[in-house]
Assembly symmetry: C2
Homo-oligomer: 202 residues x 2
DNA sequence: GAAATTAGATACACGACTGTAGCTAAGACA
DNA sequence: TGTCTTAGCTACAGTCGTGTATCTAATTTC
């Protein structure tokens, strides 16, 4: 049978994946504005002609890589541990934020020239729902089951956890510890849904 | 007397200011990674030699511009309107975020190559205290005067307002309305310091 | 095995940018 | 007025990246 190891060329999806991986690495090293076809090609160990056959520029390569490597794990809330589920959801968010795709998304969000290249499909898939998919899922789950008054779950409240994690990532560039995540849940999220230390004292 | 209007050349601070303004505009248009000496010079209507006499590259020009154009208004809390003062502080933050310097800071924060060029003085002045200077000032002011229990003012709580505004800015690219700011104060900050609707109902 | 497809390789012309050198002239100062 | 400083101007050589064209050879398909 065909022995894959003897092949010298990559074809089809294997090649595409290598190029996607390469552009996600390259953007981490140089940033969006310094992405070049040359750089991506070099990192992918493929000639530029191969890239130009499919994409017209490096940002398109990057956006395409994001489209295909975006799948993000969603939290799976249980039944009786809101606090624990919130911490786990935030941990999931942090893990994603430090993935190649997560870092690339962060870079694109501040690039003035990327928006013009953004397809509607990609925007819909990657950016439109970027916020609120981690803790919101957990909070909705528990609100539906009467864990706290559902009317307290406003767009602002749904965003608190992720907002604090996002800001922390921007401020320090380092992943928050589990203690940090617990503090965010206890000091900011739970009070906002009426489950803070003051509310339990009543 | 010297008539300023007849001069054909800018000198000293006038020239420096024009260059600073130019680089802050240029970075908004092309992003950090696409900044060039050529582009900045063109926009400042000055030759590159003039830039090279002072700076070795475009990011240095930008960082210098930030160092000198960073002064940010601080909130001036009053005596009896915590809620109003928090909303005003967040409004101040939004105004700064949309200033040329504010936007430049945002761009630099995601550029992989800018950190290496960052002087300690600049980091100290512009970035180290970037978070927590708006609502923290107000919250500390009122905590000291017994407006709410001081022990509730943790680093997490001090960050809530600005975190939510930051995330909103990232998510939409548009300035939050005053209604948005009021919602952030009422739904997230006040509950966290024990002054939410639930606490007053007790 | 032959035909089709396409990955990989090479080359080219061009533009933009870099960094430097050298010069002139405007402006400040004594 | 004379001197000094430096902004503005021009030119240059070199590098990098772009976009394209062409060809060969590896791989897949029939």
């Amino acid at each position: 049978m065909g022995d894959d190891d003897s092949r010298t060329r990559r074809r089809g999806q294997e090649l595409i994946k290598a190029i996607h991986d390469a552009v996600l690495e390259e953007v981490l090293e140089v940033g969006v504005g310094r992405l070049t076809m040359d750089g991506v090609a070099r990192r992918a160990a493929t000639p530029r002609t191969t890239l130009y056959r499919r994409w017209s520029g490096p940002v398109e390569v990057l956006l395409d890589a994001l489209y295909h490597q975006h799948p993000v794990e969603e939290p799976t809330p249980g039944a009786g541990d809101l606090r624990g589920d919130l911490v786990r959801a935030l941990r999931l968010m942090v893990e994603w934020a430090f993935s190649p795709a997560g870092r690339a998304v962060a870079a694109i969000l501040t690039d003035p020239k990327s928006a013009a290249l953004m397809s509607d499909a990609l925007f819909e898939k990657v950016f439109a729902h970027r916020g609120g998919t981690f803790t919101r899922t957990v909070l909705e789950h528990y609100a539906e089951r009467g864990g706290f008054p559902a009317e307290l779950l406003t767009p602002v409240v749904a965003d608190i956890g992720e907002a604090l994690v996002t800001k922390r990532l921007i401020d320090t560039g380092a992943p928050p510890t589990d203690e940090d995540l617990v503090a965010i849940v206890d000091q900011a999220i739970l009070p906002a849904i009426g489950l803070g230390p003051r509310a339990s004292g009543a």
